[in-house]
């Protein structure tokens, strides 16, 4: 998958490198050690869901992200065995116009929350390798600046779901 990481704020990058470096070091040096699985710093992901649309139309992925760490983190994308292409997008509503644009990252400041949510930031999930139906559980790997990752199971929900799980 081609990822356009683009330009990131230096502070985010530094924070992610510091945290990511620590985690990668722990994971590489002591797999299965007390530190637990490789985690994207201290990002806690919850309420992850996918709005499923008919046929092979692109779907949207949403989740709540909580950064319990002391360093700012930046979500830069995701990968999955279910979707061939995933992009981080943001929907904007201005001047009566609805626009969707590709963004390089979503910042989750230290000790703060951010969300992929309807009408805002979301993962655009394209080219599914098999049909995804409401009720399916779809594994996605969230990718953060610095290379750290977090495996998350997303619950597929119907097109007209008004809120996630």
């Amino acid at each position: 998958m081609k990822r356009g990481i683009g330009k990131r704020p230096v502070v985010v990058l530094l924070g992610a490198v510091l945290l990511g470096g620590t985690m990668l070091g722990a994971a590489a040096g002591a797999a299965g050690a007390a530190a637990g699985p490789a985690r994207a710093g201290a990002i806690l992901v919850s309420h992850a869901w996918i709005r499923v649309l008919p046929g092979d139309l692109p779907a949207a992925g949403y989740a709540r992200l909580e950064n319990r760490g002391d360093e700012s983190m930046a979500l830069v994308g995701a990968r999955s065995g279910t979707y061939r292409r995933i992009m981080l997008h943001e929907s904007l509503l201005s001047g009566g116009m609805s626009e969707m644009k590709r963004v390089s990252h979503l910042t989750i400041p230290a000790h703060a929350r951010a969300a992929l949510s309807p009408g805002g930031y979301h993962l655009m999930l394209m080219d599914a390798v098999r049909p995804v139906k409401p009720g399916d559980r779809v594994p996605l790997t969230l990718v953060f600046a610095g290379g750290s990752t977090e495996k998350v199971t997303f619950l597929a929900m119907p097109a007209n779901a008004s809120a996630g799980p």
Partner: protein, 211 residues
């Protein structure tokens, strides 16, 4: 066309004053048959032309607006490769239909594609129906869609190619409400609540026949 910002919630004293004033206004309004009704959405009556189009339904048949006279219409322009913003509005409109209860049978959601190059009749119909079982998806000739959009001052623009293929379409987010005679009556924005949209549809249904 701009939509006024949402009103701040009034305090209790203000609500009481408001109710008293509203009562007086209602009594006075009773003397004037042409008095303005209390719409929560933007009243556009007389400012936009009647609903008129020649498009394709889900089966690829040509349909015109005249065939749907008799139903109040919630008209929204979007495209099916829109996984976030359009579903949010369509879900919102479905919720309005749920709120309306039995009155929902007098209202129809019509989703018109601004991306006819990708939105074939079956795709756009499946997309619309995924949000509300009675919703109708329409597509058609680009020239026809452009002229329909222009009539209601709806703008749309194809974005640049995305890596790996595909593109986004930037489009007006307004929801148009037409009455049973095809007259443009109200405009809602995605920021309007389900309750406000349902309120005005109830008012519209309640005044049917009174013109």
């Amino acid at each position: 066309m701009t939509v006024p910002p949402r009103r701040a919630r009034p305090r209790r004293a203000t609500i009481v004053q408001g109710l008293v004033i509203a009562l007086c206004v209602a009594i006075l309004a009773g003397c004037h048959s042409g008095a303005p009704r209390a719409w929560r959405l933007t009243d556009v009556r007389g400012h936009l032309p009647d609903l008129r189009f020649r498009l394709l339904d889900g089966a690829g048949r040509t349909v015109t607006a005249q065939q749907f006279r008799g139903e109040n219409v919630l008209l929204y322009f979007g495209y099916t490769h829109c996984p976030d913003a359009c579903p949010l509005t369509m879900t919102h409109l479905h919720q309005v239909m749920v709120d309306l209860g039995p009155l929902a049978t007098r209202v129809r959601i019509r989703f018109i594609s601004v991306d006819p190059a990708r939105d074939t009749p079956p795709v756009v119909q499946q997309y619309a129906a995924a949000f509300d079982p009675r919703a109708v998806g329409l597509t058609g000739d680009m020239t026809e869609i452009e002229s329909l959009a222009k009539r209601y001052r709806v703008a749309f623009k194809r974005g640049p190619d995305l890596p790996g293929g595909g593109y986004e379409v930037t489009h007006s987010s307004a929801i148009y409400v037409f009455d049973t005679r095809g007259r443009a009556r109200l405009i809602a924005s995605p920021a309007d609540t389900d309750a406000d949209i349902a309120h005005d549809l109830r008012t519209l249904i309640g005044t049917e026949g009174s013109g």
